[in-house]
Every structure is written in C-alpha cells, then in structure tokens.
Symmetry: D2
Subunit: 340 residues, 4 copies
Amino acid sequence: MKVGVIGATGYTGRELLRLLRGHPEAETVFLGSGANAGRDLRDIYPGLTGDWPPLTAAEPPPLDVLFCALPSGKAAERAARFLAAGSKVIDLSADFRLRDPGEYEIWYGFAHPAPGLLAEAVYGLPEFYRPEIAAARLVANPGCYPTAALMALRPLLRVGLLEPASIIIDAASGVSGAGRALAADYLFPEINENFKPYGVASHRHTPEIEQELSLAAGRELKVSFTPHLLPVSRGILATIYARPRPGAGEADLRQCWEEAYADEYFVVILPPDVWPQTKFAAACNFVFLQLKLDKRTGRVVIVAAIDNLVRGAAGQAVQNMNLMFGCPERLGLEHRGLWP
Amino acid sequence: MKVGVIGATGYTGRELLRLLRGHPEAETVFLGSGANAGRDLRDIYPGLTGDWPPLTAAEPPPLDVLFCALPSGKAAERAARFLAAGSKVIDLSADFRLRDPGEYEIWYGFAHPAPGLLAEAVYGLPEFYRPEIAAARLVANPGCYPTAALMALRPLLRVGLLEPASIIIDAASGVSGAGRALAADYLFPEINENFKPYGVASHRHTPEIEQELSLAAGRELKVSFTPHLLPVSRGILATIYARPRPGAGEADLRQCWEEAYADEYFVVILPPDVWPQTKFAAACNFVFLQLKLDKRTGRVVIVAAIDNLVRGAAGQAVQNMNLMFGCPERLGLEHRGLWP
Amino acid sequence: MKVGVIGATGYTGRELLRLLRGHPEAETVFLGSGANAGRDLRDIYPGLTGDWPPLTAAEPPPLDVLFCALPSGKAAERAARFLAAGSKVIDLSADFRLRDPGEYEIWYGFAHPAPGLLAEAVYGLPEFYRPEIAAARLVANPGCYPTAALMALRPLLRVGLLEPASIIIDAASGVSGAGRALAADYLFPEINENFKPYGVASHRHTPEIEQELSLAAGRELKVSFTPHLLPVSRGILATIYARPRPGAGEADLRQCWEEAYADEYFVVILPPDVWPQTKFAAACNFVFLQLKLDKRTGRVVIVAAIDNLVRGAAGQAVQNMNLMFGCPERLGLEHRGLWP
Amino acid sequence: MKVGVIGATGYTGRELLRLLRGHPEAETVFLGSGANAGRDLRDIYPGLTGDWPPLTAAEPPPLDVLFCALPSGKAAERAARFLAAGSKVIDLSADFRLRDPGEYEIWYGFAHPAPGLLAEAVYGLPEFYRPEIAAARLVANPGCYPTAALMALRPLLRVGLLEPASIIIDAASGVSGAGRALAADYLFPEINENFKPYGVASHRHTPEIEQELSLAAGRELKVSFTPHLLPVSRGILATIYARPRPGAGEADLRQCWEEAYADEYFVVILPPDVWPQTKFAAACNFVFLQLKLDKRTGRVVIVAAIDNLVRGAAGQAVQNMNLMFGCPERLGLEHRGLWP
C-alpha cells in the first residue's frame, strides 16, 4: 500500500510514521505539513532515522490511503478533497466521528463543511465495526478517551447489563493528547508534579462517547465525563462507575466481556484484582480492562487503560488500514508494551 | 512548646520536622525512630541543616506534645503510654480516627489495643472540630484522602444539599502518601510515566470518610471511593460526583461553601471555572475547592486539592497543635504554595 | 521595607513574591508586569493566596528596593530609571553582571544601554561581596549556574589550590531556569523522560563564571561549561573537574572550603562520600558541596547543588536585600529543603 | 533459534522478552527466574501478552543461545555450566567483560570463578568486534555506560585523534539501569524531581571503559568517569571532554566518525549543532552522536545518547545474537525511537 500522512509532524503524525515504518505492507510516500513544509523530517525528529519523503504543503497525489492527522475542524474539507481525488481516508480528527452535524455546532463551534460525508464515514472502532471498516472509503478514527470508555462499556450496554443513566467516566490522559501546539499550560514546569481536571462537564469527547454508547444501549443516554491531565507523556486511564441492571452480578459483567472479546487479539481482560495501569499499554495497541462490583455501594467500578497515541490514535488507525486493505488486523502492531 | 516526633524519619515525620523548625513557638527536643535509632538525622536528610536531637528508640520524656508518625496499627499502644506519661498526643496514623473499634477489625485487620481512648480522641479537622481540638489531650489527625473529601463535602452534607447515597469520590495521590517503606511497587521505574488505581472498593480511608460524612449528614451513608497513584511526590486531588437535593442549584452549593468557609484562612474557593490543581497546594497548608453543576446529567462535580504531606498530614497536625496550645491557628503555616 | 517586583509573573518574579510574603520586614507594594498588566495576580497563580497589589505596566513609584526580574537585555534601561528615581535596585537579569561592556556584544548580542552603571553594580554573591552589597545602590544578582560554580570554586582558586586552565563545569538545570516563555522545546512531552545538553561551548553564563573565577584566581582563565536540561522543575547540579595545584591533596581542598565557609549559614559542606543532590536544596536557599580527589587520574571532582529559583535567583536576591538594609542575612530564608 | 532467558523478570530480562517476541527468527522457549520461579510471567508483567514458557529455577536445557541477565558476580558460574551443556551464551552482566581477572577483585570484590573463560569471551560491541562475535561461543554484552562512551571515543582514539590522558566522561542514566532490586534510594519520591552523582571516581564501569579505550588507543589510559542518576526510566547520555591531538580540528574528528560509521545502520552522527537527547533513542537500538571543538578552551565536547535497556543491554544482546547466528544484524531491531 502506498500511504500518505497529512499533519505528519504533530505527535499523532509522528507516531503514525513510526508505526508505518515497521509495517511490512505499507510504504509511506507522502508527508503533508503546513507548518514545517520544506523542512527535513529528520531535523524535527532525529529519532526517525532513514529516508523519508519531503515535507510538503502541496496536495497529495491519489494514494491507497491518506491518514489525516490534522486538528479537528481543519480535516473535513481536506478529507473531502482527498476522497474525491480517489484516495481512501482515515481521519484522526473528530471531523467525521459524530453522525449529527448539529453536534459540531454545539460542541466544536463550527458548521460542518461536509455534512454529506457524515453518513458515509465509518466509526473506526474495529472490535465493533469490523465489516463496515473493511468496506469503508472514509474512516473516522475514534478519539482517545472514547476508545478507552467504549472498549470498557460497549459490550455491557449492548446486552443491557448497566443502567444507562448511571454512567460516570473519570479519566486521565498524558499530555501528548493535547498535541504539540504551543500553550503555556503545557510547559513542563506547569505539568510536572501536578495533576488537574479540565473541560469539566464540557469536554468535546462527551458527545462522541454518548453517541456510541447510545447506539450500543439502543437508547439515548448521557454520561458524566471528567478528563484530567497527568504528568506523563502517554497513556489514558478511564475509571468508570455505573450501576448494574438489578440482578446482574460481577460474574455476569465479566462473562459479557469475555464473550465479547474472546477472539480479540488487542483486548486483555486482566485476572481478578489486577488493575490496569497506563504503563501496561505503553507504546502498544492493546487495551487492558478490569472491573469489580462494590457490594457495599452496589456500583461497579470499571477501569480501562490504553496508550493514547497508539490505541487512542495512530495504532488504531493502522489497525483500520489493515482491515480496509485485507491485511491481518494485527500486522505491524504486534509489539508488546514497554516496561519500564 | 517542647515537642517530640515519634517516627521522625518517615516522610511525614520529616515534613513535621521541616514545619516545626519554622514554627516560632515550638522547640523539637525529641526524635524517636526505631529503624534509624543511633544515626544522625542529617545523615538521612542532609537538607535538614542545623542541630537536631539524637534519633533514639528510647521512650520520650513527658513533653508538651508528641507527634506520633508511626504506621497505622503501631501507634495506639504507644500513644496510650505517652498520654499516661503526661504528654498531649497528636497521632498521625489511623489508630484513633474511627469511633467504632469494630471497624479496625474489618478494615485494618487488628483488634484495637486501646479502645477506651477512641471515645476521647478528637478528629483533628480544625474547620469542623475547633473547640474540641482546643480542649483535647489526644487528637487523631485525619487521613490525606479524607481531608480532601471532607473539606469538599462536609458543609454541603451538613445542610442537606447533596443526596447522601449519591457520592462517588475518585481521587489520586502522590507517592509520598505510601510512606518510605520499601516495596517494588514504589520503585521509580514502576511509578514514573504511569498511573493506576489501587485499593478499589477496599481502601482503608473509606470508613473514615463515611464516618465523618455520616456525622455531617445526620444519617449513615456509604461512598464509592477509588484512589489512584500519581507519578508525583506530593499532592492529592479528589474529583467528586454527587446529586444535589432536588431544587438545589450551583449557586446554593457555592453559597454554602462560602458561608462555611468565610473566615477560614486555609480554604480557597476558587473563582468559577478555575479548577484546583495539586500544584496550587504544593508544600502549603491550603485547601483549594471548585464545583460545577452539570445540567446535562444533573450531577455536581466537586474538586478539592491539597498537599498530602502538609494539609493531609504534618501541616494539619501543626494546625492542631496551634489550637491545642492557644497559638494563632496559622502560626508557622503561612507560607504559600510553590510554583513551579 | 517597601518593595516592588518588576516582571512579577515570570517564575523568578513569582518565587520572589512567595519569599517576600514570608519575610517579616518586607512589604510588597508594587507588581510590575507587561504581559499581564490589568490582570489579578491570583488568577495567574491561585496558590498565592491573600491580597496583592494590582499588576501594572506603569512605572513604579520610588521604593526602598525594586527587584527587577526581566529578561536579560530588557532590564538595564529600566533599572537605570529606577535608580534615578531613587529606588535601590536588585537586578536578576544578566544586565549588570559583566564588568566589560564589550562582553555583552559578544555573548548577548546587544550594546549595553547603560555602560556607566556597570562599574557601580555590585555582583551579588553574598559570601564574597558582603560589604560591597551592603553599601550598594545596584546589585547584579548572579546567574543560577554561576552561583553553583562560584560557590564551589571561588575559595579554591583564591588560594591557588586549582590549576586555572584545568576547569570543566558540567552542569544540569531544571526547566524553570528557562522561564515561562513559550517555546516548543519546553513543552512537557519534549522534556519529560528526556535529558539533553544545550548551549554547548556557547552558553551566556560562561563569561560570568570566567569573570568571577578570574578575579578570584588573580589571573585570566577560561572554563569549559556545558549545561544540560533536566526533566525537573527546579534544581541545579554542577559537576566540576579540575587539577589541583601540584602537592595539594584532598584534605587541603576540604580545609580551604571549611575555612572559607566556617561562618556561612547557607553553605553546607557535606560529610565525606555524601554527594549533593538537587533535592537537598529544594525550595531553600542553601548550597550543598562535596569534593573528592581521584588518585587514579589526579583530578578533583567537585559537586555543588542549589535550587535555581531560590539560591540561584529569588532567594539570593532576598539575601542581598537583607544585606542592603541591615537585616539579618537569613531573615525570611531560614526554611529547610523539602523532601520529598 | 531456540533461546532462553535467565533472569527473565528483571528489567533487562523483561526487555529481552519484548524484543525476542518481535524477532522473526527467535523462539523463546525457556524463562529462568530464581525469585519468581513458579509464577506466571504475565502476572508480573501484564503487558507481555500472549503465551510464555513457565518461569522456573531449573537448569535450562541446551539451547541455541541463552541470554544470561543475572547480576554481576552471579553469572560466571552459571554461564560456564550453560556453555558446557552446549548452549551459546550472551551474558549481560559484567562477569566476562574484563580480560584481567585481577580487575574483578579490585572493582567487584570477588575472585572470578571462571577465569579461564575470560580469554574466550568476546566483548560484544558489534561495530568493533563483528567477526569475533560471529565466531563466539560466549559473548560479554557491554555495559550501558561503556557502550555510550566507546561508541563515541573508540574510533577517535584508534587513529590517535585524542590525547589519551585527557578524557573525562560525565554521564547520566535512567533508573532502570539499577535493575529492579529493592533499595530506598530508588523509591519514586527519592528520585523524582532530583538529580545526583553516584559512584564518583569508583564506578565499576570504569575499568571496562578503560580496557576498551586502551585497546583502541594502543596504550594504557585512564579516564575520569562520573555517573549521575536521572529522574527518567530509560536513557543514557554521556558528555565527554577531551583534548584533540595537536593540529587535529573539528573536521578531522567528524570525518573519523563518518568513516568509521559509514556503513553502520545503528549509528547516527547528527547534523552539526543538533545535540543528542536521550529521548532520540527511546526504546530503540540506535546510537546518537555529536561533537564540537571549543576553540576558546581547545577541548572537544562529545555527546552520545542511547537507550540503556536497548542499545545498552537487551537490544545489543539481540544484535549480537543476530551476528552469532548469521541473521541480518538489524533483524528484530529496526523500530525507530518513540516520541514523545
């Protein structure tokens, strides 16, 4: 496959390049960059040794697939052009994740420039949309927080094991999730030895989580979602609280997961009492899950951990590419997590 | 005041020494240590410059006050002896925090060796037990997580603004909260660039939180409490979810806080939309609070931040000492938080 | 003393405010800020609780002393005006540290706007310029790296114990040394889990170190100086290599230090084999020193550690203020280092 | 190739398993562990998903190659047995790195139990001992600090470009270099936000560096070597000072490197003024180099960066395995460095 990456020098683009270099069937032939056009990729990222195409602000030629790693709001128009030119597109922004164009005005503050494509776009969560992804021309790669939350909750809601109105998602992310844009809040001394919530009751991943959980539950639901910023570069941990359906016990919940994920290479349901840590998933595409029913309160506590740049972005995008082109789903993604 | 510190070389003991050295009315005349008896304090902590009493495993003489910074389960017997010998005691373990001796068997796994003292001990949360602390012979210094949770919730529950059964406390702590004991889990490479929950639905601070919230609410309540371990040395952040009483709005909640804390030097209710960060409280005794009512879900999100070693341990102990000896409550504790 | 801080919202200015708030004789009555004029200090730094003067871009009134915490190159002109208006000035930039105006053109790239003041300015390293500081109208507060290097080397060079041409200073600093200015290099993900040299053979602190070491040695000397950036917020460690004068042994070097610093409150010569760590000095004004003669190579290894924002900037500035106004030198600076 | 790892649950062993799982020609069939015998590898490292042999304290069967990742002093006897049983051995301890048995008594404090093997063991620095490694039965995998120092210095000394007596190596390592053994010094709160030297003028890697540099220079030399501990998990940076031979300029030094490493896949000589950062090498087997001649002092400053667990241990061991078994040298090691 001949592939291109648009937005190649952001953290997500850079992670895509790392993964694509190790992919036996992908050849990266185009690197799009607005801010760094004309520079040499290795000047920006000396760790990306070897030869690379030039960084360019030019339009890409038609390729087998274009990964679009632009900020949300800047991807839709360009992706539409790429599709029209004949490339398949895997978009890593939020621009094609929401089905309802109105949601973009509410949560993102812009009128969607290509609403017609929202119906065509496939939500690229492979474990749940595998056939649709395989047939797609345009894949909306899920957000990092949504990936963690949905992998934990979707199977349980699909079979009605949780009360839909009871879901609280308390999550924390490494700073790479904010991208490489300059902002004082992300300077090292502001983040180091610190921990803070942000986007309380207003984060843009909320409607994405709600859309996909509502589809799973078969009814509209709302969630409480509070993201926090961790003093780490990578990793997402979601700690989720919910009430099980009356009569449902811990074994039922666990069995639901085990059935849903029995054949899933990238999903690890940990043994009882082993709780996910973000570092289990460091630099790999695996999802780590655990749950426990607290009999004192009647709530189940569910925890999911992923690497936000791999499973939460670039790795999942490659997984989607594999599906779209008939490669083994795990191709180029089999490496295990780093420790320490 | 002539004071002694038992368990002087743990992190909490060390922090007490730092604060006591800066306290104009306290003279540290006794340093108790089992593991490091016979060593020089400055060999262990070169940053504690100046002269110090020798580290000794001997019994302390009667002093104005003894700070007991021993692990939970090891403090009760010794504290009873110190009291009998005529010293006032501020105990920083959990050994005198719970009123019901039976709870020690359930949560801590031991029969309390001095149950008679539980009735006498005063829970040392100054903003809520000021007169009792002033008159106390034995103060049970609150736990770090409970301090954060109670400062956020106690005023709201006291006036019935929250549904008692709705409370979920998702919290995160720096590693110093685990003390200086050796365990592979606390090695740098295991914690660095990592984040994880622990003690899920089983942490020992749960009954302490529930006891004090139940007393505030005037009825028994249970909470969901999930602690997490942050890759930082200091700091606690508690993110709390609850349902307000029907009809109660965000302004009611905020006004309740403002009235409860109007004259409290150490409590900072942040301006709207400024959320607490652990680093606001770095190395100081202040508590930082914020809340927001999420109209979409009907839940209020409440966040509290403290330094676990200062307000969550040694600083609050000094605050209690000030109350017990008629000093201005803020004496020796007025320094502001470090940044960065 | 009525004091003002110009550049109040940078990290150095912020640290000055923290220290001045705890100083019993200083009242902070003026806060100058270009970028944040009109804002409330507590909006920027919520940890600085209590009341503060407004942030303003206006000229300060004449005060007992003005701390000028502006970037190098922006301080000289303003400081000259403050002096003319009748305030004493402690300048924390490099603008008055070098005696030779020509050096500013070589190392800083600008023609010094007030060369006449260079002769009057006193280099504010208290242990070596105490009487001059006490009498000064204008103090040039030393740089962070120079402070560490000079405290280690000045006494030894003054008595001729080291070969002047043999000195290599390999040093590392926390990121707060770079200030709060926006630059991609200082984003958390670029610094975290990373370590790198910078300014190799070209750092601007080189001529400052050489000037003061040359004065101590009584002859011109050059040093190799390589700074590195640590993934920490605070702290400087300098590891220094030099050849002792023929015949000089480790005991001679140590004795020289002990005599030079016998009465110095802020200097800690550690016991043999205890090596300085940046954290010994965390948030305090002390300097930690150690040395060892390596008989295999004939070189002495000397290590110094300070907190770059306290002893390397704001704390030393307050120490200088104390000297200028006849206060006890340690007033407001007696707090010991944080751990952990 | 059928391979085994002895000491499989230390950090180096764990890293070997990660790399071997991604190696297309290696099958890990034996996991030796004393401390964790009988446990399941995935209980210790949940990130190592998939199936693994049991952890056992039993002797390994004869295999194509055994990686011995035991602490120094514990490997020699066992390795001798493995060799006798017919396996090739790649030993990652120091037990076969020094040619002179007497050095073990001086630096490591033990009499070498298998001195006869020291002559047979090949020092496993592939770029310099490629044919010897290919023919070896026993490879002594280099230490982490030596790898960084030797890759920087060996070519330059071999052609006489540096004065042998002038070399100073100031280096810093991530904490994983200390292994996973319990020690208070390596607890998170002791390392975090801290930086310190250790083993000053006494570190055990000194004779290893000196042996290999002396061989390169063709004469005995001594170096000053000071390691430091960084608050990072991985990475080594060596900053080296030396005097060039009279007449040798920066271009000569650079050209020497370029010739020595012209065909070396794993060596990256950075463009002028781009200095190595430990993170360039994160989780990859590449070495990053830079140098600059400081005309003011006449010294050259040389910097090398590697990942201590990959190129400084497990990755280099796999590189050696590839050579020993006729595989392409880069097989299983082509992945690029992580960022961020």
